[in-house]
Amino acid sequence: MTQLVLSTVRQKAHWSDWLGRAFLVLVLLVLLAFLAAPLLAILVQALQDDQGRYAGLANFLAYARTPTLLASLWNSLWVSAVVTVIVIPMAFVFAYALVRACVPGAGVLRAVSLIPLLAPSLLSAISLIYWFGNQGVLKEFLTALGVSQIYGPVGVVIAQCFSVFPHAVMILVTALSLADARLYEAADALGTGALRKFFTITLPGAKYGLISAALVTFTLVITDFGIPKVIGGNFNMMATDVFKLVIGQQDFAKGAVVALLLLAPAVFSFGVDRYVSRRQTAMLTARAVPLVPKPALWRDRLLLAYCLLVSALMLAMLGMAVFASFASFWPYNLAPSLQHYRMGLVDGAVAEGFVNSLKMAAGTAVLGTVLVFVSAYLLEKTRGLDLLRGPVQMLAIVPMAVPGLVLGLGYIFFFNEPGNPLQGLYHTMTLLTLCTIVHFYTTGHLTAVTALKSLDADFEAVSASLKVPFYRTFWRVTVPICTPALIDIARYFFINAMTTISAVVFLYSPETKVASIAILNLDEAGDMGAAAAMAVLIAAISATATGLFALLGGWAGRKTQAWRRR
């Protein structure tokens, strides 16, 4: 029985297999060059002195001896914690209303809650300034509350709450939709009260979603750059420090240290999130019966009132930016005019920025979707090159843990290094696009993997037995079935490329400046009206794009999903 295995049988590869393997190698090279190498460059930078010699932990010690930087560290930590504590309960109740109650117009409420995703995070900061700034409409209200001015931690916290709210809601909606009706039926049969059901079934069931939402919120806040830049005033945070150290003072070593510190919470929450998501999937079996909420008059009314309040705040945030962008001369002449738009687009030359943004967004959406989907397909559905699969799989997940700011910094260190053959890419649109693809890679990858996993694992085996090469089945079967997921991925890439600031802020040149960065520059130049106008324009483009993607989805659905209708 136990015999010496002299040699392991290896299967010959079919010629079509080589095609898949070549692409997999390409994906690995892309992820190594545009993700692993830049991250490594940060580490190297942090361990070097300004002469390029190994300096051990000297840079870290220097950082620890700089009181202003330590103050930023503390600021970042407590602001992120406060935002998390405020947002998570609010988002939980909102998500609960959407999926566990019978609130009328849940679809509209949900859409409204997602508004902040359409614009760069700094839109909410700009709006806040119009509401509560020195010339804000509700400045007195703020003073009455005992807050002397909106610039600083108060403004940062409020603006962050708005910008991260949709992220938390999306995670919690998913967590709360994964409910097994049978648990509630069993509880009802035992005569359990509503409150007890909530604390013994609902809350434990959403536990992992809550943890995950809290971690994501914390990480997003601590790594966000736009909001503290616009409304932080003299209140320094780590994200703004990185920018000042690297772009302002050219102190690359300290910048690298801060970047590594920013990476820490992200990596930590990433680790916890992976652990948690594994637990969550194990909890829900295929036999679970989906829960359909039953109407309850007072609960639904209260929740509706709450949702309307939150939605009103969301709309007020967007509405103020829209209003201010059309106001001729805030706050003295509020007559509508297009002057800020003209000023931004023509005088501020942001029109070019929009062209660049659209180019980058389109490039990211097309190239990113192809790269993400094909590599996910090859990982899930083909065989061979077993040694490469682990690394590719890991690299596909890593971007989730890398804040854009850190990634962008890594790109400076790596691609601006004299002697790097890829140095020619620096400042180009190609590099901006690739950086954005890598930055948002993981979400696309996970969407693709989920879609692919829902396909029968034996399609490829059947095709091979019928002598049909894998790429043909990929084209005739896999892609048509996964079209909705593909459109989702493309939309996600497009919207994020339109609104991202953090990674690309280090990489643009005057020729490749994108609109979101231009807003930052307008704000720095004190041109708030134009900044608001451009932010609104980005939101409008994102909203239009979302609409177009929805139309595309509908059209593709009719063409490719006919089989779903019986």
């Binding site: 010959k12 019928l466 005739r476 079967v477 006919a562 089989w563």
Partner: protein
């Protein structure tokens, strides 16, 4: 008959777990062979190795005289049907069945003709334009079968093809598969964990357990002459009683018989396990002398339709009740019910000793 497919010393390890241990097997040309065994016995792995979907750690696979051990699936010659049907949901029935034919660049009219022919063969003519989701499970599996046969493969592989179907459909389709297989004469390997399925359709059955072949034989051989305790236990129902062989006599409780009458008791001595099929325990006195009768007492009647599992206490044989199959008619004719006395007799030549 010549071997169409032969497996030599097939080993398969997943890490430290050895899924297959030195399997040798010949599949004869034109036969329907069933791999039967509990889950985890390696039967599906073995099928997937034949298909090239798993690679054996060691061993040689030969099909029609050609060494295919290292060939990728696309270069082998077989059609395959999975438990999940694996029909392409976005393609019509015709496109599914003609999926491989299209790749051969045959003229469209010819493909259409062949598809219609195949659909007629599996009993679903006229369903070409439908999508798989518009068909029942059994119909979908027939389409999968038609697709597997479209390229006229030399070998048909069926991986638990009936497990996802309901009981009635399962019985109907297994007979259809059997008659189709006979009609086409295609060499077929079918994996199943359902012994009734294997017994009813197979020419030969390969009983597997823990990565080794326990027995290969015709359904009757497997049932009547199990080669091991495992096979006797796994295939069919069986009463297992403790016994002893001493001085050329087999003793079971207070009952005994000369080992000359029990073929499988030859060359055995000491404590043994005695295997008795329920139908080999007779409840009729008939030609047996009164002295050979064993006193029994009906403890429980498990009603299953035409036949009943009758649990009989026979202290002479064992302290635990024996299960005997009796027809409903017999029970009625004899006026038997729970609590009745029921004298039994054994058929020594059918007793198996392990």
């Amino acid at each position: 008959m010549p071997a169409y497919l032969s497996l030599r010393n097939i080993n398969k390890s997943f890490g430290s777990f050895q899924a297959l241990k030195g399997v040798d097997l010949d599949v004869l040309s034109g036969e329907l062979l069933c791999f039967l065994g509990p889950s985890g016995c390696g039967k599906t792995t073995l099928l997937r190795i034949i298909a090239g979907l798993e690679v054996q750690t060691q061993g040689r696979v030969e099909q029609a005289g050609r060494d295919i051990s290292r060939l990728p699936p696309a270069e082998r010659d077989y059609g395959i049907v999975f438990q999940s049907y694996a029909l392409f949901p976005n393609l019509s029935v015709a496109d599914n069945v003609g999926y491989g034919l299209v790749n051969r660049r045959l003229p469209k009219a010819q493909i259409d003709r062949r598809v219609e022919e195949l659909l007629a063969l599996v009993g679903l003519p006229g369903s070409a334009a439908k999508f798989p989701s518009q068909l029942s499970g059994g119909q979908q599996q027939r389409i999968a079968l038609a697709r597997a046969l479209a390229m006229q493969p030399g070998l048909l592989l069926l991986d638990e093809p009936l497990s996802a179907l309901d009981a009635l459909e399962r019985v109907r389709l297994r007979q259809e598969i059997r008659s189709l297989q006979k009609q086409l004469g295609v060499t077929t390997v079918m994996v199943t964990h359902d012994q009734e399925e294997a017994l009813s359709v197979a020419d030969r059955i390969v009983v597997m357990n823990h990565g080794v072949i326990e027995q290969v034989g015709s359904p009757t051989e497997i049932y009547r002459e199990p080669a091991s305790a495992f096979v006797a236990d796994f295939v069919g129902k069986v009463n297992v009683l403790p016994g002893r062989i001493e001085g050329a006599r087999l003793h079971v409780g207070q009952w005994s018989v000369g080992t000359g009458e029990v073929p499988s008791a030859r060359d055995r001595n000491g404590a043994v396990k005695v295997y008795l099929r329920p139908e080999d325990i007779r409840a009729r006195s008939g030609d047996v002398s009164r002295a050979a009768l064993i006193q029994g007492h009906i403890e429980k009647i498990e009603f299953l339709g035409a036949f009943c599992h009758v649990h009989v206490q026979a202290p002479q044989l064992s302290s635990r009740p024996l299960v005997v199959y009796l027809s409903l008619n017999f029970l009625a004719e004899q006026g038997l019910s729970e609590g009745s006395d029921l004298p039994l007799s054994l058929m020594p030549e059918r007793i198996k000793i392990f």
